[in-house]
Amino acid sequence: MNRFSQALKEKDFVVTVELEPPKGTDLEPLVKLASDLAKRVDAVVLADNPRAEARLDPVMAAHKLLRHAEVDVILTLTCRDRNRLALTGQMLAAAAAGVESLLLVSGDFVNLGDHPQAKPVYDLDSVQALQLAAKLSQGQDLAGGEISDPPAFLLGAAFSTQAEPRGAHLMKLKKKLRAGAGFIITLPLPEAAPYAPLRAETGEAKLIAGVTLADPAERERAAALVKELQAAKADGVHLALPAAQAELPAFLNACGL
């Protein structure tokens, strides 16, 4: 069993952080940062062309981190850039690289990113991508073809507590859980209040609360939010500093993690 799924089982409060692969080919800074974080977090979540910006493939980045940073990786895959064939290929590649946890999301739309002219794919949606990964774990692809040495993925899904209408979003979240999601990472929470009611909806699955800083001056507010979530017996937090991931160690310090 990998470190992250063990932590989900055994720890009261897991900590993950978001890391983005570089827009370029030098992975050393990412490996260095991940190594610095390795002892302090249960996994790093590798982003997949975050905000629809083209970057180095996260499977390659995951491979490097698993080998050189001694940190567990949750690999994000979006449905935006790949059809079911490519997603199957990426999932198998990830498994071959040693990735055991996937976070499967729709992906920000292309017009929010740096290639707004790109053709968006969305052959599958996030529910169906979870179905695909679950099926691969059972030794089959979506067409029923056999997968030799099948992977054993722990599957994650995303949820936004601020999205309306909430009923529609909860309906989809429940589909994600039925499709095989074992943990949920929320989009950044503005406050701790939405956590408990959501936790009541997610059953067995672990619910990890997203926390971010829009502005470095909010660090104290974010640290207070983490402490509040900890006190409320949340399953864990996921910290993201989209434009400033090098600040993550200091942010962890501020949060007392």
Binding site: F109, N111, L124, D125, Q128, F159, S160, E164, H169
Partner: protein, 226 residues
């Protein structure tokens, strides 16, 4: 109906520039109703092209014709005589009509005067809104009459994505999230259980090749064994 939009004038004028006698061919069906390629628009475009050609000192003649439908062969035949002596046709029909016109007159350069934009509805005078993507596998019974494949940029079939905010789409804060509309209509009519089943990945094999459709009454006529 099919909605189209006239191409930028300069693009049309430069495509037409190499030819001397050009027939601007309108279509009296969908593009006429969306005020893009009917008889009146055919006349307007021919007048514009004529003025521009005269100003540029190009010796060009623009004739006009408007057929009932460019997507029906019998209506294209009536152009046969009139098109003799023309060097090109400029079609204001949708993409289907332009292709059929080119197929009927294979030696004639056929120029596209419009961009076909959507299958849509006439929401108000002069306003059209997209409704359908001709996906060949309709889900509207389930979704309460709003199409998530046409109206969601991501074509989300199992529910809204996490980008929706206050019922608006992440791609454009002015645009309604179709899942918000679907939810409120089904909730209002007590049909939310429509949405409870997971929708399996869509079968795109039915949409990957140009489709030929034969009406059941004509199956025998066109079957391979006859």
């Amino acid at each position: 109906m099919i909605v189209a939009k006239r191409k930028p004038f300069d693009e049309i004028a430069s495509a037409a520039a190499p030819y001397h006698r050009i027939m601007v061919v309108g279509c009296g069906t969908c593009v006429a109703v969306c005020l893009t390629g009917g008889e009146k628009e055919t006349g307007i475009l021919a007048a514009q092209l004529d003025i521009a050609a005269q100003m540029a000192g190009r010796d060009q003649i623009f004739e006009t014709a408007c057929v009932e439908r460019q997507c029906d062969r019998e209506f294209l035949d009536e152009l046969a005589e009139r098109s003799e002596g023309c060097d090109a046709m400029l079609s204001l029909a949708c993409g289907a009509g332009i292709q059929f016109l080119a197929e009927r007159y294979p030696r004639m350069p056929v120029l596209a005067g419009v961009d076909t934009t959507m299958i849509g509805v006439n929401s108000a005078v002069g306003v059209w809104d997209e409704k359908c993507r001709a996906c060949r596998s309709c889900v509207l019974t389930m979704t309460g009459g709003y199409c998530p494949l046409a109206l969601c940029p991501k074509g989300q079939i199992n529910g809204p994505c996490g980008g929706a905010r206050q019922g608006k789409c992440e791609t454009d804060p002015e645009r309604d999230c179709v899942w918000s509309l679907i939810w409120s209509r089904l909730e209002g009519s007590g049909r939310l259980e429509n949405l409870s089943a997971i929708q399996e990945p869509r079968d795109h094999s039915i949409a990957n090749l140009p489709l030929r459709q034969v009406h059941p009454a004509y199956q025998r006529r066109y079957s391979a064994h006859e």
